[in-house]
Structures are given as C-alpha cells and as structure tokens.
Symmetry: C2
Amino acid sequence: MSTTPTAAILVIGNEILSGRTHDINVKYIAECLKKVGIQLLEVRIIPDVEAMIIETVNALRKRYVYVFTTGGIGATHDDITAASVAKAFNRALIEHEGALAALVVHYQERLNDNRRRMALMPADCGYIANPVSGAWGFFVENVYCLAGMPSVMQAMFNEILPTLKGGAPFISQTITCDLVEGDIAHALAAIQENHPSVQIGSYPFYRKPPDIGVSFVVQGQDKAAVLAATDAVNQMVIVFGGTLFKAESADGASC
Amino acid sequence: MSTTPTAAILVIGNEILSGRTHDINVKYIAECLKKVGIQLLEVRIIPDVEAMIIETVNALRKRYVYVFTTGGIGATHDDITAASVAKAFNRALIEHEGALAALVVHYQERLNDNRRRMALMPADCGYIANPVSGAWGFFVENVYCLAGMPSVMQAMFNEILPTLKGGAPFISQTITCDLVEGDIAHALAAIQENHPSVQIGSYPFYRKPPDIGVSFVVQGQDKAAVLAATDAVNQMVIVFGGTLFKAESADGASC
C-alpha cells in the first residue's frame, strides 16, 4: 500500500459550513478515486476566507500527491478560489487566454465583466475543460480546482480522472447481517489480525426493530486477499447464528 | 463577530472517505450551532488512524473554542477514538465508572468484554449520556466525542448543546430567483460592500431548463442588518427584471 498515491479534498464554501447545502461532491470523488487506486486520506471543509484557503492549500499540497478543491470559481464576489490559490503558489492572477475563449463561445454577446472574471487563473496553470457551463477549472502542480455545483464538478472531475496516476483499484465487499457488533467484535478483530493487508470496517445500524444489524466492509487492493477476508467474515456470521442479508447493489459514481 | 465562539467538527471514519457512507452529521451540527451563535469554521474528515486522530485533535483544539468529533466510539477493533483522544491529551485510558454502570443497565446479561470496551475513556473526562443505545460519549476540555450513527450522534449532541456558551444566533434569509449570477454579480458585490456586517452568498442552480436561477443567502447575527441586506437583494432582483421564487421552507435540525 505504500506506493498507492494519496489524495485530499478541500471543500471551499460557507454554504456547507452553515448547513445550508449538503455536500455530495466528496462521495463522488471518493468513489472515483477508489476505482483508479488513489487513496483519499483527508477532507477539509473551510469557509470562503482567503487566509484559510491559502493556509490549507499549502498544508495539503505538501502532504498529499493530489489535492482537489471544490467551490468558489464562479462569477460573484464570494468566489475567491482562483485568487487565493494563486497567492498560495506565489503566482500572479492573470486572464487565461483559453478560458476566455471558452467563455466567449459559451456566452457570446452575454459575456460581460462579471463573467469574464471566471477566466482569471493563476499564471501558468493548466486548465480543466467544463463541458456543462463554459467556465473552466484549472490546476497548479498537484492542486486541481473544480466547481462546487455537483453536475459541473463531476464533468470536470471526469475530464481529469484519466490523467491521474493511480495504483491497483480498491475493491470492497460488504457483508450485512442481523448480528450486533457487541456479540462478534472479538471474532471480527481476530479476522482483521489474520488479514492485515485488508481493512475491515464494522458499521452497525439501528433503524426500527427488528431492522437492527451490522454491515462489515472489507476493502483492499489485493483481490484475493479481499475475497479471503470476506469468506472469513461470512463464516463468522454463520458460526454466530446470524442471517446474511442480500448484498447491497453498488450504484456508484459515473466515472 | 470577534466575540462569537468558534467550532470545528472532526469526522473520524474510513467509511466516509471511501464514499461508502454519506455523512449527514456535519449538516445537523452546523444547523444547531447557528441557532446558539457558535461559528463553525472548519470540518475535517480523517480515517481511523491513531496518528492522524492525535495530530488533528491537537491542531483543532488549540485553534477553536469547541471541537466535536463523530465516529469511532463503538465496540469493534476499528473504534479507536477514545484511545487516540486520551493520547492526544496525554491521559490514561481508563474504565469510566458511570459509563460502565450505564452499559450494565442497558445490556444486562448481554454485557461482555466487547461491549465493556465502550466504557474505556480518557481519565478525568466528562461524559455525554446516550439515551438511544447506552454507550456514552465523553469530553475532554473542549473536545466532545460523539457517536457516528446519526440517531445516536443527534441525541448526544442535543444533550451537550445547552451546556455550550454561544453568542447571538445566526439568522439567515434566502432569496431565490430566475436571474443568473453573471448578470448581477457587480450589483450583488456592491450590496455586500454596503452591508459589511452580513455575509452574502450566491448559489446558482442549473437543473433542467427553464429551472435555472440563483439563491442568495444573507447571514449574520444582527437581525436588523440581515433584514436590511435582504431588502437590498430583493430590490436588486426587481431592478434586474427577475422573478422571485417562493421562500424555501426551513426543515432544519431538531435541536
């Protein structure tokens, strides 16, 4: 696992911290990164405050192979991601020729000074095409700056995903049963010890009785190891007299 | 605003970073904090890794007035929050008498070594009662450690909320209309400049045409200032020939 590239997500936006907007971008990016063998190790959510953006971008970009930011690249006064990321890298904020051309095509006679602001990017950055709404994202070194609106963010992320260098895909298996954690924790810990190359998570659920139970998630990059550990968990459920529920269907991200 | 207490949330859990589980605790806590005048300034999501928990708890507790952690306080091997927080504070991990008594009452003859582990807490911590499933949370100084399961987390958070010292409640008004950001960004920026004690956010939406528009959110702790800025935004919408949509209903957190 030591050669698996790492990543962090930085969500920039007062609307998430205020509880107004429920972020769904983290889940999408997380699912996509697993498919290409990149390990998401941290997410931070911060407000639209320049000093915090600069500090956090600089902390994350030094620590992780990839950093993905979402939010703050629109046309209004609270969109300060491009200017802040430029400062984090000590680069000028300049009008990106290609981004401006894309805005001209998209907005035509509706292109005004407000919209033209969306072509301002850190000098010498790369661009991320936006097939949905015309305003490009950008990247500087290992920091990729994406839109906050989920449909746009997903389109941008799908643009860059093939360019990222990952490792073996993460594979996960979920086993759901009607046992409760407190009855099997010691047996599950023993399985984890015997299968150190996988991670086994235990996620209980208490809905309305009798809908009480637990899901075990076995995850790793070595398919044989994941399947062996999954077998061991299935056996454990049987030994403890549990009933296995039907496997959950995977309706993951479209990347 | 300088006297408004600050807060951070630390979500501990591989299941969020893997995309398996969609966190809903941040939104709940965020909404509750607004009501009691505490400003949520940062959220971090990290895996069940001791070194990261220790480092992050220590970073956040020095920076913010309140820190709330969610996740990792159950009965299985991947529940390492209590042990990690004890290490962050250089405290021993001991069996909490009251927490054990609560487990005895809740589980009776089903109390075993696995479940008893849920009474292990940092020495001299305070406890957070759990009216849902018997296993208590705890707090050390300004760090409050809550369950990850939303129903339990909410019950625990509601227990501690009356004990937190806040400021004036945050009030927010949402104005939704059929204008687009690029047409009004300059006018909106002028309103923000004229009303510096409030924050004005702009959140466009592109669903299927013609369902395209923008929501403006005016937020602050001074009610008169929030209403004055809201008035100014409403006027702006009219001046630009926009149609106001019906106000969204607030179906916020039950705290």
